[in-house]
Symmetry: D2
Subunit: 358 residues, 4 copies
């Protein structure tokens, strides 16, 4: 009889449940991970609300830290008992898209090898990691050993938040000496701020309203924080830059208002780097876009995944380049995860990220 | 008494006139060019219609081929009588923007050195070249000698059409083996098609309706031309690419409809390279944008200028990499330029570009 | 009893033999290909001469065109009987190096995932394809279906020669309007010339001595060919470029003399793109290197592999962007391959490439 | 009668002198700067020793901080009395090279517009700034206002040391998460270390022997410093990286030994970013170069100049991204500059950089 485990599943819109499921088997190229720490993402909340459809009874969660329990027979170079993480995005490595560097759009099952968001599998197309165990597919491409000396919580942001936030600065091609604006300082915006700082921006302007987040923004690297409930962020950015505008603006919320403010904050030739998950059509105002003649760029990034990305991210933490532990504001055991969802979904008690330990 | 010359000036919306003006003086860093051939651009039509405001009595035109008549006293390395062109965009070379490579957004007069469209001066902020003589500002940065053996008409497209069209392929970063769609095959779209071919695209799909332009598209490098009056271009592109979508789509018309079709034609991770001059806000449909998670890029380009750009473009013509002479479908003397405007504005008689000779 | 096949094996320096070997089994992630056409590479000659060590009895050859005979049980998305090629470089797709885009330096077996030349396996670390059958490792990452309508000989250059030659132009970042010099017009140099042409170089100067290769160079895109037995190539290049030097020089021979001439041909800020396999230390003369202050770049490329690369290369042939069939100057059956080696190693009879058909 | 000023001139090899010279006139595009602080560079020492030839009686020095004394009549956007710096490299902005972004190889006087090192003019082809006054040529492209609140010494490294050092990290394309080795921690090596840190390297390994420089290396961002008099740096780097090698190695000394060690320290696919001024031919050992097949890159950078570069560098200091004040270890008045040369040339007393005040 199969061993059982606890798993948080999506039942139907606005209904989740902690259920018993069999501990899964591993295929030849997979690995089974015993989850030691995981977390809840804004995307999970979208799923719970029914805004992003997944199958009923799917286990949620895409940010696993754990220990290798079992390796598929084609998986080598790892050992059982080893501490690892896997990215929220699990590329095959072998699709046309992945071989071309578009790991997040991996579509191995398709003839042409590309699928929108295809690299995102945990808690989307396969069972996720808000459970005692999770199967990591294409394990050779996705298992990333945790460097000695790093705790679970220190690497907990790597699978999604940190990878996505940094991508905002990377895809925006932030250069030494750039001025950068980051709209919204939730967990991803904070990581974008940290990423802009790490790439050498010489002035970083964050836009946020919540007091705890404003403070955190300063800690991770913002030089100025504009409280948008108080002042118009575009006007303030223009003042701070002497009317020039910023080289790169990063959208980390997913709204028309912030997207548009990002565009209006740019210097001619600047780049809008978009991380937000939008839920409406977007409008590009003619004037903000200089009728298409401003040499502007709008670039979007889905969380980069795969073990090489995870290795690089963990190396920045091992190298003490940034400290994301303060982002973990609350801690729950897996048995109380429904309570954690409630707190996180309603953004109560200054919550940033919650650590869940099975 | 100052020598006189003929010049085509903007009087008021829907009214232009060929008038007598004094032949201008040259400042220390300028050059006076005797225009031997020029042409009319779609942008000129916008100006005439009053859709883009310029001062009354400004001489129009931004595509000069001519002969150096007089050099300012700080201009060296050229000689009077030398055949030259200058780009539609005349950067100073010395502004912050220009030194950073953003020549089209040159704002030398501003403290921070950037101005939207600031590099575009001819027929916009200073007198243009639909005249017997034109002053080229910052001549050291802008006078590009015409290689021996090339005729005026062979280089006539370099100042604007060719530079802009190629920029569509360049900013889109077309790679060897890419599939590219180019929406609209007017002069700029045709040059974008030629540019995609020159950068090694292995399949180029043009979208156009006018018979002459469809034929021309095939000549300059399109493998397939979709007549959008007959078939839905996005559907056809998906068929031609096996459902994959194109790597790069180039917008060369300036409408919501083509902008949107460009986005819908892209593979995940693809780039929309926009050349069009828009006259309305643009909408990005949520589904076409994969909610912001498709690793898409939208890049815009204003005509690159400066003498190095002109040198490179003329070298492709000297090297017989493309032949744009067929684009010149009609020829007028400057004294008949109002007639040429009428023909060009109304797109009569299969007109592509007109050559104007003072 | 295992089925037998013919295979050309390395025995010891200067000794090869066509031997009987068992048709190999396929592992779970492999595919067995029945080879229909293959060829001999200059690298094979190095191996035969003992200049590059491989194990005795290893089957040589790394350029397979064939038909899928059998698929490993984890390999999906293909069918037996399908026509395919695989690159000379077979990345795993799942190593740290491969996930970072360095497919040729794939080191899946190592803890840090990088190994010099690690992606080159056929005829190096595993049996190659100068045989009736060959096993393609990591088949999902490496099997590339041949587009309908292309013959074996039309795609025979893709696995190595074309991929390497194009990489010379790509790594050199050849731009529209560049001037490019290509030193040596053997098969790889010819493909570099074709690649420079495909990326939009407006003047291509090839350097070669052999009459047939000079002719071929002109056919694939060279504007000028300098016979170095007649004239000093650096002097000639300086004449042709008005003393400026080339933007990119491509080394396709592997000698100090050509490496140095490449460097001396560059403009300040130019790029030396090196493809040659060297067999001695190289010297960078102080003057040619402007004491390290010339903003020069020296970049090297090992043949890019993997199915996405093969797909792109075949698409350029399907799109009629270049025609490499004339490179196949001789044809042999596998049973006569030793004779083909003799012809090719001694460069007799104007041989460029030989097609071998089992 | 022309006003006189003190200027340090090169007389003949190993002989310099502080002499009286007339305060120079300004041409139409120039500016006259009253120097308030300058410094001595290793390159000046090369000149003094006769290793790099300049004309007798040329004023030395290429790192000016000062106040605008007089503006040429075509120079606008500045005011007399304004505090400015100019880069060691003064591009025209208007040459072919400069318009293409190669400011350091500016050759405005040549037909093709490129000249090796042509952007370096101060103390090389025109009088430099170790004087009471200096003429800045092409002032519109080169005068960079000092932000309020920054002292002379805070911006003194921008014209050369900082621009060059950062270029080592920039041309090497250091990415977030990279491992970087920097060979030699003189002023330029220290700035390269700081630049690697600013671009997000997660492990920086410096190589140096002098105690004060080892300490300073740690302060500006090195995680490990290898004392090469004690240990073999390549072996140590391999240990620190688990046998992988570094992503980028930066050469900041100019010797065969360090160049070679840089190459041997690289992972396959890594980049050697060279800043050193060499005085001998260089050897690339065959094994370190993997016979040309390692996907290695060797890139060189000459100090980027122009006012946009200076603006960006000063913004990193204004933003407190790094503090280079400790590099100024000694201070002299211009009247004692010969003594300062003696100290600096002989590297006595732990000297890093000297500040010279007229």
């Amino acid at each position: 009889m199969a061993k059982k485990m606890k798993a948080l599943v999506f039942v139907e819109p606005n209904r989740i449940a902690l259920e018993d499921k069999p501990v899964p088997d591993v295929g030849a190229n997979d690995a089974l991970i015993r989850v030691t720490t995981t977390t809840i993402c804004g995307t999970d909340i979208h799923i719970v609300k029914g805004e992003y459809p997944v199958e009923s009874r799917l286990t949620l969660g895409h940010e696993p830290v754990g220990v290798i329990e079992k390796l598929g027979k084609n998986v080598h170079g790892y050992r059982e008992g080893q501490r690892v993480i896997a990215g929220a995005i699990c590329p095959s490595g072998t699709s046309y898209a992945s071989l071309d560097g578009f790991h997040a759009q991996d579509g191995q099952a398709r003839a042409h090898g590309i699928k929108p968001l295809g690299g995102w599998r945990f808690g989307n197309t396969i069972d996720g990691c808000q459970a005692e165990y999770v199967v990591v597919p294409d394990a050779m491409a996705n298992l990333a050993p945790v460097p000695d000396g790093l705790t679970d919580e220190e690497v907990l942001m790597c699978p999604d938040i940190l990878s996505t936030g940094f991508a905002g600065a990377e895809s925006g091609n932030v250069r030494i000496g750039d001025t950068v604006a980051v709209f919204a300082q939730g967990p991803i915006g904070l990581c974008a701020t940290a990423g802009a700082r790490l790439r050498g921006a010489s002035m970083i302007i964050a836009v946020e309203r919540v007091r705890e987040r404003i403070e955190m923004a300063r800690k991770v690297g913002a030089d100025h924080v504009i409280d948008f409930s108080d002042k118009d962020p575009v006007e303030e950015i223009m003042k701070l830059t002497g009317g020039r505008g910023v080289d790169v603006s990063i959208e980390a919320l997913g709204l028309q208002q912030t997207f548009e403010a990002c565009l209006r904050s740019l210097r001619p030739g600047g780049t809008l780097s978009s991380l937000g998950v939008y839920s409406t059509d977007l409008k590009i105002p003619l004037d903000a876009f200089t009728a298409g003649l401003g040499d502007h760029r709008i670039v979007t990034s889905l969380c980069p995944g795969g073990k090489e990305r995870m290795r690089r991210l963990m190396s920045t933490i091992a190298g003490a380049r940034l400290d994301l532990k303060p982002l973990v504001t609350h801690r729950y055991s897996l048995s109380d995860i429904e309570e954690a969802y409630d707190l996180f979904a309603n953004q109560r008690d200054g919550v940033m990220k919650v650590a869940i330990t099975p």
